[in-house]
């Protein structure tokens, strides 16, 4: 499954992109390889939790604030 993201910048290496994920607590940013991005989404495997229409997903890399797992709206997960 994949989580929707928005590309917001580039990293230090030509292969890197900075992306933003909208979580229920606000946006989180992380650095990913551009090969990871497909149709404005990132592979997250399967959700690891569910509560009140929200899904707990593990991102492929640590966010800039140090998180791996974030709660997102169900509509943010596709596939």
């Amino acid at each position: 499954m994949r989580v929707r993201i928005e590309e917001i910048g580039t990293g230090q290496h030509p292969s890197e992109k900075v992306v933003k994920v909208e979580t229920i607590e606000g946006p989180e940013q992380l650095l990913v390889d551009k090969r990871s991005i497909r149709e404005r989404s990132l592979d997250i495997g399967f959700p690891v939790g569910q509560k009140n229409g929200h899904l707990l997903v593990e991102l492929p890399r640590e966010t800039f604030s140090g998180l791996w797992r974030v709660w997102v709206d169900e509509q943010m997960v596709v596939g």
Binding site: G9, G45, F46, P47, L55, E58, Q75, M76, V78
Partner: protein, 183 residues
Amino acid sequence: MILTDREIRLAIQNRLIVIDPAPNEKAFSSTAIDLTLDENISELKEGEGGLEQAIDPSHKDFQPERTIELVSRKIIIPAEGYLLRPDVLVLAWTKEYVNLVSYNRVAARVEGKSSLARFGLAIHVTAPTIHAGFDGHIRLEMVNHGKLPIRLRTGIRICQLIFEQTLGTPERGYQGQFSGQGG
């Protein structure tokens, strides 16, 4: 449990571990695989005299990549190599793209090479774990702790990757009770 060369080869053949470009025979040792240095590096600048600067990682507006851009300069390693001076921090990358498939039971650690460590070269700063599901060029935080500059050239064997089998499949790789409920 650390994967041996035979197990690493099998995982590569089965596309459970992707390394691109594919490593040649000399890149393998019994329990690790060597990766090489990419031509791109970012050298962190030294502070200027009389100017006090500090990084505030917990600030609500903190942007790590923007900060790195402000305090570093991008360099393409020239043919004669890049001279890494003592106590200078550079960000570097492996030439190889690595993908540890998320449903595979493998994580990895990136570690230095003793051939370079003996001259003081550290290739990461306390963040060696490559988690299951990682994909990308591995970012190295390199510091020369030695007394003499070290000349780094593109393509040198810069680090080694040690693969470890996890006990069980991570939750995100397991199609459990929450599968099929998104989107």
